[in-house]
Assembly symmetry: C2
Homo-oligomer: 192 residues x 2
Amino acid sequence: MSGRRPGRPAGRSAGDTRARLVEAAREQFAARGFAAASARSIAAAAGVDPSLVNHHFGGKEGLLVATMDLPIDPVEKITGVVAHGVDGLGARLVRTFLETWDPHRDAFSALLRTAMSSPDHAPAVEIARGVLLARLATVTTVDRAALVVAQVVGLATARYVVRIEPVASASVDDLVAVYGPAVQAVVTSAGR
Amino acid sequence: MSGRRPGRPAGRSAGDTRARLVEAAREQFAARGFAAASARSIAAAAGVDPSLVNHHFGGKEGLLVATMDLPIDPVEKITGVVAHGVDGLGARLVRTFLETWDPHRDAFSALLRTAMSSPDHAPAVEIARGVLLARLATVTTVDRAALVVAQVVGLATARYVVRIEPVASASVDDLVAVYGPAVQAVVTSAGR
């Protein structure tokens, strides 16, 4: 008695392929980190063709997100923020970040706590570096992108984890009004 | 055979009084938080006169610092930063913070991790709120002071805990040049 339905093509189902890729990715990201693990090596470990990483996940970033079981898609969110360039990026980033995570603050808090207690290759750190920082660095320098990530982490820590008032219960509009220009200053100030 | 040396006045030694105050403060800060625990109630629990809190620690802030066994004095540092007013405060704060904690990054990392895993009345959170935020709020609004704290926490997390490059190994001068104006933007931007 085979589980395969009649008429299904030979080989694995798409769901099976996805699951094998996610499992192999989770292992390789944990062992070697997101940057060092290639789509090719993950596909090899999963026993599937490397082109299926793009086909199923749109690339290694999407595969990273798939390993994390997040309530939102950070790749889509940051892509939307940087798509409009540097003008107003600070306000867009702060607003998008808060509107995305405010409804999932406990989930974000758990991610951040795990990342703080064992940062090496922690999924949240890999997302911060491999998705957020990497996308921001397409519109500003890597130095500045990393400091924007620092600002976002600080805001999230104060609002979701440590809950420092009035940051914890301020309105999104109020936070965007004050923190948006501060993020913008990192992106576009003269600096050095 | 008494431990008291001849000629010593009756009653407890200054070291004994300090130790009793620190112990009582540690218990009350942990149980009720820094804001709720008064110098008077701590002195009562320690069985000493309330005036001795000021005499030995310069106030409740100093007592909080004394409970933590820190390598530096955060009250002295933040007092120096705000003493010169809001002009250039962002750069002064970032430089002072980094020059203070760079030599003690592991100690800071440990403080921050503890605060993240159990934030209620964590000593580092009480210092952030009761000393850093409180002193900043004397030169800007509480809303802005809290967001400056968020920025500092983010910078420390990226540099000391999660170690996101290039923030982790950037020079203090480079960080002051880009992050200083961002902190300044929170303190003095138009906002709302």
